[in-house]
C-alpha cells in the first residue's frame, strides 16, 4: 500500500519534471536522449563529489586551523 502511494507520488513528480522542462512535447526517443544526458552529468557530479569531497573538506578545515 505504501509502495503504491510512493509510486504515485514519484510518477506525479516525474510528470511535473516533464512539463517544466518541456519534455512533454518531445517524442519518446528525444526524452530518452535528454534523460540519459542528464543522468550521465548527474552521475559524474556525484562520482566526483564522492572521490574528492574528503580531500576538499580536510583542506578547508586545515585552512581554518581547526585540524592540523
Amino acid at each position: 500500500m505504501a509502495l503504491a502511494d510512493a509510486w504515485k507520488q514519484l510518477s506525479w513528480f516525474y510528470y511535473q519534471y516533464v512539463l517544466v522542462t518541456a519534455l512533454y512535447m518531445l517524442e519518446p526517443w528525444e526524452r530518452t536522449i535528454f534523460n540519459s544526458l542528464l543522468i550521465t552529468v548527474a552521475a559524474m557530479a556525484v562520482y566526483t563529489g564522492y572521490v574528492f569531497m574528503p580531500q576538499h573538506i580536510m583542506a578547508i578545515l586545515h585552512y581554518f586551523e581547526v585540524v592540523q
Binding site: L19, V20, T21, A22, Y24, M25, L26, E30
Partner: protein, 563 residues
C-alpha cells in the same frame, strides 16, 4: 483628392462642436496643461489599474495584470531553450536525410537560391507548433453553442497527419466560442426567421452593393443598426476583418497620422498600413502615452516639413480579446476633444456584451455615441452571424458607400445572415415583445462575475477587467499549453489555448469566453475541471490573497445587486 473632400466633410463638422474643456479634471490641468500626469512613484511590482481621473468614471474601473513570477519566467525560458535545441537536432536530421521530411521544402533545383524556410517563424512552426497541433483546428460537427460535438481524431505520426476514428465526442462544453449572448443556436425565433428568409431570397446575392446586390434587407438592417447604436446612419459589410482593413484606407491617407494601441487586432494594423498614413503606437490602454504622442504630433507636425497633420485618427478597441481589458473610453474621449483628433472605436467583442442595454462600451461608460466619430463592430460575436458594420454621421457613411473598397468590390451580405442579425438585434433591444434580450444580458454579466471571481479565488492568474466576458488564464510554460488543452478535452470541455505569435513568447494563455447560454451547472462543471487540471499541472501561480481581500469590495458589491 479624396483626403481633401473627407477632411472638408469631417472638419466642417468639427467646427460646429464647441470647445468642451470644461469636463477636464482640475488637478491635471493646473500643472502642465496635461490631462493625465505621469505618476512618479508607481509601485513596479504589479499593475493594478485604477482610474486616474475618477470624476470621468461612474463606477470603479478595476483591471489587473499580475506580474509573471520570476521562477516561472526562468523555467519558461529554460523550456523554450530545450525545445530550440531539440528543434535544431531535428532540423539537422531532416537535412541529412536521417529522417523523412513531411514539410514544404524547396525543390532540388532551387537549393542555391535565397532560402525560404529558414526564418524563426518557420522554425517555430516546424518544431514547436507541430508537436501540439492537435489542440487547434478541431472539427466541430454540431452547432457551436453552449455544448458542441467534436470529431475524434488520432494521429499515427505525431501530428503531421490526422485520421478520424469515426467516433464523435458528444456534449463537450464550449468555453471557446465568441457566443456571448448565446445566439449561436439552430432552434428558436432567429433560426426560424433566417430559414423563412432563405426560402424567400435564396442564399447567394451574386453582386456587390454598388451594382445590383443592394437588397431591401440591407437597408432595413442598416436603419436598425443605426437605431441600436444611437448614431445617424450605418453601413453593413459582409466580413468583419474586411470592414477594418478596407475602410481605414478610405478614411485616411498620406499626410494623416494614425495613433494605434499596442495590442490592436491584425485587421486594424493591416488597414492602417494599407492606408499609407504615418502610424505611431502608444502603450496599451495608457493615457499618458497617448497624450504625449498627441502633443508631440501637434507641436512638431509632419516629419520633415513640419506642416500640420491633415487628420489624426486614434484607433482603439472596445475589449481587447487577448488581454480581456476594456478601453478607458471616457479618458480617450476627453483627450480627443481637447486635441481635436478623430476616434475610431472597434467594438468587435464588446458590442452586445457590455453595458446595461447591450449597446457596447459606449453604453457601459454612459458616454454619448455622437462623441465617437466612427463606431465599428462585428456581427460575428454577440449576434451569432457574420459581417461587420460602421456607424457614424450621415455624411461619413454616404462617403464610405462610394469610396470603400468593400462596398465597391466585395459581395454583399447573404440574406439569411441579415435576417439572423435583425432578429437577434430586435431581441436584444426588446422590440420583439419579450424580455428575452434583457434576460440574456443579465445572465451574461452574472456568469462573467461568477466565473472571474471563482477563478480568482482558486488562485489562477487572470488578466483583464472584472467586467469583461473574455477571461485569459495564464499558462506560461510551452508544455502546459498542450497539456492543458488535452486534459480539458479528456474532461469533456473544449478550450482555446494561445501561444507564440498571438501573445508574447513567455505569456501563453488559455482564453475562456463566457456565454449567456452557459447555465450555472455548466460553469460549475467547467470550474471544477479547471481546478483539477490546475492542480495537476500546477497552474495556480497567483500570489495575491486567495480569498480576494483586494477585490472583495467590488465583487461583493456586484453580487449583492444581482443575487
Amino acid at each position: 483628392m479624396t483626403q481633401n473632400s473627407t477632411s472638408k466633410i469631417i472638419n466642417g463638422d468639427a467646427l460646429h462642436r464647441t470647445k468642451q474643456d470644461k469636463k477636464v479634471c482640475g488637478n491635471g490641468f493646473v500643472k502642465n496643461h496635461c490631462l493625465f500626469q505621469q505618476k512618479r512613484n508607481r509601485r513596479p511590482s504589479e499593475k493594478n489599474h485604477h482610474a486616474s481621473c475618477t470624476s470621468l468614471y461612474k463606477k470603479p474601473f478595476v483591471e489587473s495584470f499580475e506580474e509573471t513570477p520570476l521562477l516561472v519566467a526562468v523555467l519558461t525560458y529554460m523550456g523554450y531553450g530545450i525545445l530550440t535545441i531539440f528543434g535544431y537536432l531535428r532540423d539537422f536530421l531532416r537535412d541529412w536525410k536521417f529522417e523523412k521530411c513531411h514539410l514544404a521544402r524547396e525543390r532540388e533545383e532551387q537549393k542555391d537560391f535565397v532560402p525560404l524556410y529558414q526564418d524563426f517563424e518557420n522554425f517555430y512552426t516546424r518544431n514547436l507548433y507541430m508537436r501540439i497541433r492537435d489542440n487547434w483546428n478541431r472539427p466541430i460537427c454540431s452547432v457551436p453553442g453552449a455544448k458542441m460535438d467534436l470529431v475524434e481524431r488520432v494521429t499515427p505520426d505525431y501530428n503531421w497527419t490526422f485520421e478520424h476514428t469515426g467516433n464523435v465526442l458528444k456534449d463537450v462544453i464550449n468555453m471557446g466560442s465568441y457566443n456571448y449572448l448565446g445566439f449561436a443556436e439552430n432552434t428558436g425565433t432567429c433560426a426560424d426567421a433566417a430559414s423563412e428568409c432563405t426560402v424567400k431570397y435564396g442564399v447567394g446575392v451574386s453582386s456587390t452593393r454598388q451594382e445590383i446586390g443592394n437588397l431591401d434587407k440591407h437597408e432595413e438592417l442598416e436603419i436598425l443598426v443605426a437605431k441600436f447604436l444611437g448614431v445617424e446612419s450605418s453601413m453593413a459589410f459582409g466580413m468583419g476583418f474586411a470592414t477594418n482593413s478596407m475602410n481605414i484606407p478610405a478614411l485616411t491617407g498620406k499626410g494623416c497620422l494614425i495613433l494605434s494601441d499596442e495590442l490592436n487586432h491584425a485587421s486594424l494594423v493591416l488597414g492602417a498600413r494599407l492606408s499609407g498614413s504615418t502610424i505611431r503606437v502608444f502603450k496599451h490602454n495608457n493615457m499618458e502615452s497617448l497624450e504625449k504622442l498627441l502633443r508631440d504630433a501637434i507641436v512638431h507636425g509632419q516629419p520633415r516639413t513640419h506642416r500640420p497633420w491633415k487628420k489624426i485618427l486614434i484607433l482603439v478597441e472596445g475589449i481587447y480579446s487577448m488581454e480581456g481589458s476594456i478601453v478607458r473610453l471616457p479618458e480617450v474621449i476627453a483627450l480627443k476633444k481637447k486635441y481635436k483628433a478623430y476616434l475610431y472605436l472597434d467594438e468587435a467583442h464588446s458590442i452586445g456584451a457590455l453595458g446595461p442595454r447591450g449597446r457596447g462600451v459606449v453604453d457601459y461608460f454612459g458616454q454619448d455615441p455622437s462623441d465617437v466619430d466612427i463606431m465599428m463592430g462585428t456581427f460575428t460575436k454577440s449576434f451569432g452571424a457574420a459581417g461587420g458594420y460602421i456607424g457614424g454621421k450621415k455624411e461619413l457613411i454616404d462617403y464610405l458607400r462610394l469610396h470603400s473598397h468593400s462596398a465597391v468590390y466585395a459581395t454583399s451580405m447573404s440574406p439569411p445572415i441579415i435576417q439572423q442579425i435583425i432578429t437577434s438585434m430586435k431581441c436584444i433591444m426588446g422590440e420583439d415583445g419579450t424580455t428575452l434580450g434583457q434576460e440574456r444580458l443579465r445572465q451574461l454579466s452574472e456568469n462573467t462575475t461568477y466565473f472571474r471571481r471563482k477563478l480568482h479565488e482558486m488562485g489562477f492568474i487572470i488578466y483583464g477587467n472584472n467586467d469583461s466576458p473574455v477571461v485569459p488564464l495564464m499558462l506560461y510554460m510551452p508544455a502546459k499549453i498542450g497539456a492543458f488543452g488535452r486534459e480539458m478535452l479528456k474532461r469533456n470541455i473544449g478550450t482555446v489555448v494561445v501561444g507564440f505569435p498571438a501573445t508574447p513568447i513567455i505569456e501563453s494563455r488559455a482564453r475562456f469566453c463566457v456565454s449567456a447560454a452557459h447555465t450555472r451547472e455548466m460553469l460549475d462543471k467547467a470550474l471544477n475541471a479547471i481546478s483539477e487540471v490546475g492542480d495537476l499541472l500546477q497552474l495556480k501561480y497567483s500570489r495575491k490573497n486567495r480569498h480576494g481581500s483586494e477585490g472583495a469590495d467590488s465583487f461583493s458589491f456586484l453580487e449583492s445587486h444581482q443575487d
